[in-house]
């Protein structure tokens, strides 16, 4: 093996950071924010099949920006870890914090051990019983983790987008207001000369963790549901949510999207499964 020249570790880390930051800032942005009925994820995404936002577990969602192959790798790892923990213990014992820690360790190890760091920024969010108990974690390429105060933006020009959110975000806002704020924030940058622009509905990937739902709370807002919300007709849109074979939707799912902070749906409190609390209804 050839003898390696000595390089200052400080310099190596700076170079890796710069590479990761550059990679992330080239990509389109994503925002996560709490609202009365849950947690909202909005990402600018030209593809309708290569997702930036996805479900990890019952009350945990995942959003990422940067290189697709790298965050997809982490997303799979998260789903595997969550499902393994949920099977070994109980569904209630799978937490966003444990997942954020695992991601932080993994990203940190990759950043210090590998030639090239992951060019990704990740959000892990867990919806709680009230907006105050929602947790949003930001994981950076170097494994640093931050607990965000109810909203966060990542990707290129994240700072400018976060400033828009900071001024207008309230944790008791309705879903319609939250989606509009998120879209306004995302479109506030990137126009000619830093001006704002318009993002079409088919270039948005929108999903929620629905506080009112029992069991799996993750739901994508697609097609007419999304366009109706963007047109300001949120309540009716959610009620008219189409049955989509790919997305688990049910009647309970339509509740709670109007924004009122409801307690979990009154449905049968008895778990449908005596074996686990696998509440799949």
């Amino acid at each position: 093996m050839a003898m390696q020249f000595y390089t200052n570790i400080d310099q190596i880390m700076r170079d890796r950071s710069e590479l990761a930051r550059k990679g992330i800032s080239r990509g389109r942005s994503a925002v996560t924010l709490t609202y009365a009925g849950g947690i909202l994820f909005v990402a600018e995404n030209l593809s309708s099949s290569l997702h930036k936002i996805s479900e990890i577990y019952d009350r945990i969602g995942f959003a990422a920006v940067g290189r697709y192959n790298e965050f997809e790798n982490l997303r799979r790892a998260g789903v595997r870890k969550a499902d393994l923990d949920g099977l070994s213990y109980d569904r209630r014992d799978v937490t966003g914090l444990a997942l954020a820690n695992a991601y932080a360790q993994t990203l940190g190890a990759i950043f210090s051990d590998q030639q090239k760091p992951f060019e990704v920024e990740i959000c892990v969010a867990e919806v709680g019983p009230t907006p105050a108990e929602d947790q949003i974690y930001r994981l950076a390429y170097d494994g640093s983790v931050n607990d965000e105060p109810g909203y966060m933006a990542m990707g290129g020009s994240a700072e400018a987008i976060a400033n828009v959110l900071k001024g207008a975000h309230k944790s008791d806002m309705s879903l319609t207001d939250a989606v509009k704020l998120a879209v306004k924030a995302l479109s506030s940058v990137g126009g000619d000369g830093g001006a704002s622009r318009t993002i079409a509905a088919n270039q948005l990937e929108v999903a929620i963790l629905d506080r009112a739902r029992r069991g799996r709370t993750f739901r994508r807002l697609i097609g007419p549901v999304l366009t109706n919300i963007l047109d300001g007709n949120g309540g009716a849109a959610a009620a008219a949510a189409p049955k989509n074979g790919k997305e688990p939707t049910d009647d309970k799912a339509a509740e709670g999207t109007e924004g009122a902070a409801k307690p979990p749906a009154p449905g049968p409190d008895k778990p449908t499964s005596s074996a686990g609390s696998a509440d799949l209804e």
């Binding site: 190890a109 049955k243 074979g245 696998a278």
Partner: protein, 280 residues
């Protein structure tokens, strides 16, 4: 966990590898001890060490399928449990009922639920109904060694087929044997477990294609009553303790478990019918 000490603390390679979208295959790499059928058993037949879950029936109906199970688990001549629940949702559109060794069955059922959910989350799309049935068959096959030593589990699987050309006929039922399967039940009904002989005979005479979900639910409870009538390991409706069969449906709206009030009403109707005509 199988991996040795890794000072970096990152998730082991099996977590981040591109690999498989099957949760059981992932488990076989990182935690094979969590898979039923991977544990060494002492030689000999040990079927009488654990409670047995008994009769499950499934009936196709117009626009879906109904599955019902009695609430008894037995250990030899004793009743091990009066209120065990043996019918569960496997995912949003399918149901699974277990008969045989209760502990292994519940473990297998939980694993099957995670398997389906895991695939859906990794791939972003649900498995087809046939795909689900085949996955369950592979999991039963994995338990073959234990089954031959007396710890057999035989499930019944039923679901609403989202890709069916005729929604009225979208309810489908799959049965299994200890070596796997699956066998699709095209007759429109099936029963498993110790009382299945009597439940099947009752269904053979009473089943008609195209029943409504309500009629099929009633028929399922009738068949369980007939099974309990002739099989000591199957429990009938327990009027004194208000314990009634678990009845679940899978339709285009997803899976649904009938409430205790609804099953109580069906069971009351069945029992009062039998007061006049014990043979049904």
């Amino acid at each position: 966990m199988a991996a040795g000490f890794d000072p970096s603390g990152r998730l082991p390679g099996a977590f981040t590898s591109a690999g498989t979208s099957s949760f059981t295959q992932f488990l076989s790499q990182v935690a094979p001890e969590l898979l039923p059928g991977r544990r060494p058993l002492p030689p000999g037949v040990s079927g009488d060490v654990a409670p047995h879950a008994t009769t499950i029936v499934a009936i196709t109906a117009a626009g879906g399928v109904v599955m019902a199970g009695d609430r008894r688990a037995t250990m030899g001549n004793l009743i091990a449990s009066r209120d065990i629940e043996k019918v569960h949702p496997a995912d949003e559109y399918s149901l699974v009922g277990i008969a045989g060794t209760a502990g292994v069955g519940i473990e297998l059922m939980r694993l099957f639920q995670v398997e389906l959910e895991h695939y859906e989350k990794i791939e972003g799309a649900m498995l087809s109904l046939d795909g689900k049935a085949n996955r369950l068959a592979a999991m039963i096959r994995g338990n073959l060694g234990a089954a031959l030593q007396g710890l057999a589990v035989v499930p019944l699987f039923a679901g609403y087929d989202l890709s069916a050309s005729d929604p009225a006929r979208a309810g489908r039922i799959f049965s299994y044997d200890v070596t796997g399967g699956p066998y699709e039940e095209r007759a429109g009904y099936d029963a498993i477990g110790s009382g299945s002989l009597f439940a099947n005979a009752a269904l053979k005479k009473r089943f008609r294609a195209g029943l409504s979900i309500e009629d099929a639910s009633r028929l399922a409870v009738e068949a369980l009553y007939d099974a309990a009538d002739d099989d000591t390991a199957t429990g009938g409706p327990d009027m004194a303790r208000r314990i009634f069969p678990v009845v679940m449906t899978a339709t285009a709206e997803g899976t649904h478990r009938l409430t205790d009030e609804e099953t109580a009403a069906i069971a009351n109707a069945v029992v009062s019918g039998r007061l006049e005509n014990p043979g049904g």
